[in-house]
């Protein structure tokens, strides 16, 4: 048989891909239509689990938090990361030290990040105590224990973790921009801020698309950070879907409901990824047809 060795070499991967990435997903989707509790049963219940899911206040809070994270974290990382990249690109001293400082959180686990921020914002320990020790006794910084604000501390910690990624990717994009473009901007006397906004930003489209994709999946998968920082509390104020699924799978013994939640998660992934993929595909096709014609 032709290419037999190559086929044998790829076979284990093909098998794993098929079993884990196709089979297990199908299984999970299947389970979401059953009444499974702690062990899988094959009692078809239609969309009952989905009805129960969207009737659960905890799930709705999770979804709301995912939306807040999605907007706050992705937006925050893009803005902060682009600003950091721009400022680093101004031929500053100690550039490599600065880059090391901005990117190192990305090397840390979400567990470590979560604890670091939990302590940093801890009322008896961190920022609040520091301000009070300075003599500002009225200063209260109760974000982490305020039901309405706790989710924003998670946003802040996540930005701290991920902004460096945007900085690194965008800086690579900035360094790839043709020097002649900058010369043209200089000669036309276009102010730097204007150039970064109207000329350079559109040119960095692919870098930003990659960042958005990576950050958005970070949001959907977000589990460890919440576990370490708030454990989902106070109450269930900082629950997120990934944590909801984990809890119902392994602690609350409701596999059917958890599978329904997981299925919603993967639909979210598709909803985020599809437009970006489509845009890229469309752009490459347009570029290809333009170079032909």
């Amino acid at each position: 048989m032709k290419n037999l060795s190559a086929k044998i070499a790829l076979a284990p991967t093909a098998l794993v891909a098929l079993v884990v990435f196709v089979g297990c997903i199908a299984w999970t989707v299947g389970l979401s239509f059953t009444g499974s509790r702690s062990i899988p049963e094959f009692s078809f219940v239609g969309f009952e689990q989905y009805v129960a899911l969207f009737g659960s206040p905890r799930w709705l809070v999770s979804l709301r938090n995912m939306a807040i994270l999605g907007i706050g974290f992705v937006g925050g990382c893009l803005v902060l990361g682009y600003l950091l990249a721009i400022f680093i690109d101004q031929k500053v001293r100690a550039e490599s030290t600065l880059r090391t400082i901005f990117l190192y959180p990305y090397a840390l686990s979400y567990i470590v990040t979560g604890f670091a921020w939990q302590w940093f914002l801890n009322p008896q320990l961190g920022l609040q105590k520091f301000m009070q020790d300075l003599g500002w006794t009225d200063f209260t910084f109760r974000l982490l224990i305020d039901r309405n604000l706790a989710i924003y501390t998670i946003v802040a910690a996540a930005i701290w973790h991920g902004a460096g990624l945007v900085m690194a990717l965008v800086l690579a994009g900035l360094r790839g921009i043709d020097e002649d473009i900058w010369k043209a901007i200089n000669i036309e006397g276009i102010p730097k801020w204007r150039a970064y906004l109207s000329i350079i930003l559109p040119m960095l489209g692919p870098s930003f698309a990659t960042c958005i994709l990576l950050l958005a999946f970070g949001v959907i998968r977000n589990y460890d950070l919440v576990v370490a920082m708030t454990g989902g509390g106070p109450g269930s104020a900082t629950e997120v879907p990934a944590k909801f699924v984990m809890d119902y799978l392994f602690e609350r013994q409701n596999v059917g409901l958890a599978s329904a939640g997981a299925t919603i998660l993967i639909l979210t992934v598709v909803a985020v990824a599809a437009p970006i993929w489509y845009a890229r595909h469309w752009q490459t096709r347009r570029a290809a047809s333009a170079s032909k014609g």
Binding site: N3, L31, A116, A168, T210, D224, G231, A262
Partner: protein, 303 residues
């Protein structure tokens, strides 16, 4: 005519050589922004380091932003071999060893399988290979929660659940899409003529792989080592789900230590334990420098 031009020309006529550097608000603003940003990124880690070097008495007396007055590594020692997870008080060294036992085989296996996959997908295109690649890339994007439960059932029935080989296997599987992509992109960037020349010389599938492409793969292998080491070390969810009590990696143990604290919390020990958990990826990051960024970029070009 020259008289009319003179006043203007005279004011600038002495300009010669480079423009002298003058104080500029723009430069000052740039450095001010970078300074504030650096503080934002450094303060949380500074908090942990300074607290971990204090005694509990000092922690109570001062606040986290104060530097330690009499630095001591007592808390680090306690974190390493005394911190308690429930009733076991052997410190984070247990988790450290577990993480090592997980990460080393994961990295080695990922390289072997990833390089082979990348090689097949770059040069030996046959019907179905593309489909495998597409499914694999899809796998790079799915949330773990989507496959976790079926995989737990599968692993139980295979007798792998809760065992070290079982945990290593899931790490390799979930690392496979990105590692394969890295090798595939790397090989696809090499001139195809190298492959064609080797075929014309009569070399077969395995010989071309071992004699020609493996020796050329050092740059991307470094990137993969960095990527998989930090990734596997920082993992929490797989270790939690598949590790069982025996094989809990450092992140899981750290969480257990901190979550199971009763009575007065030993903040200095907790922070020392956290720093110890962060140490390996931080070291990899510091040592690898630009390679780390390359790893992100290589892993980022999905799709």
């Amino acid at each position: 005519m020259s008289e009319q031009v003179l006043p203007l020309a005279a004011s600038t006529a002495h300009h010669d050589g480079p423009r002298p550097a003058t104080f500029s608000w723009e430069r000052a603003g740039i450095y001010a922004f970078l300074l504030v940003a650096s503080l934002f990124f450094l303060l949380p880690i500074y908090t942990m380091v300074s607290t971990s070097l204090k005694t509990m008495a000092e922690v109570r007396a001062t606040n986290v932003l104060m530097p330690p007055l009499a630095p001591t590594i007592e808390a680090w020692g306690a974190a390493w071999n005394q911190a308690c997870t429930g009733l076991d008080c052997d410190g984070v060294q247990v988790g450290f060893l577990n993480s090592l036992k997980i990460v080393v085989p994961v990295v080695v296996l990922s390289i072997l399988v990833g390089a082979l996959n990348g090689y097949v997908l770059s040069f030996w295109r046959f019907r179905g290979a593309n489909l495998v690649f597409t499914v694999l890339m899809f796998g790079a994007f799915i949330p773990l929660q989507m496959v976790l439960y079926p995989l737990v059932r599968l692993w139980s029935s295979l007798g792998l659940y809760g065992s070290l080989p079982g945990l290593i296997a899931v790490h390799v599987i979930f690392g496979l899409p990105v590692v394969t992509l890295m090798y595939r992109n790397f090989y696809a960037g090499l001139p195809i003529e190298i492959f064609k020349a080797a075929r014309v010389d009569g070399a077969g599938f395995w010989r071309i792989f071992w004699s020609i492409f493996v020796p050329m793969s050092a740059p991307i292998t470094i990137v993969v080592v960095i990527w998989q080491t930090t990734g596997a070390w920082n993992d929490y969810i797989l270790g939690l789900t598949f590790g069982g009590r025996e094989n809990a990696p450092m992140t899981v143990q750290l969480n257990n230590i901190i979550a199971s604290q009763t009575g007065e919390r030993q903040f200095n020990v907790e922070m020392a334990a956290t720093m110890l958990t962060a140490m390996v990826p931080l070291l990899v990051y510091m040592v690898s420098g630009r390679w780390f960024v390359r790893g992100i970029t290589a892993g980022a070009v999905k799709g």
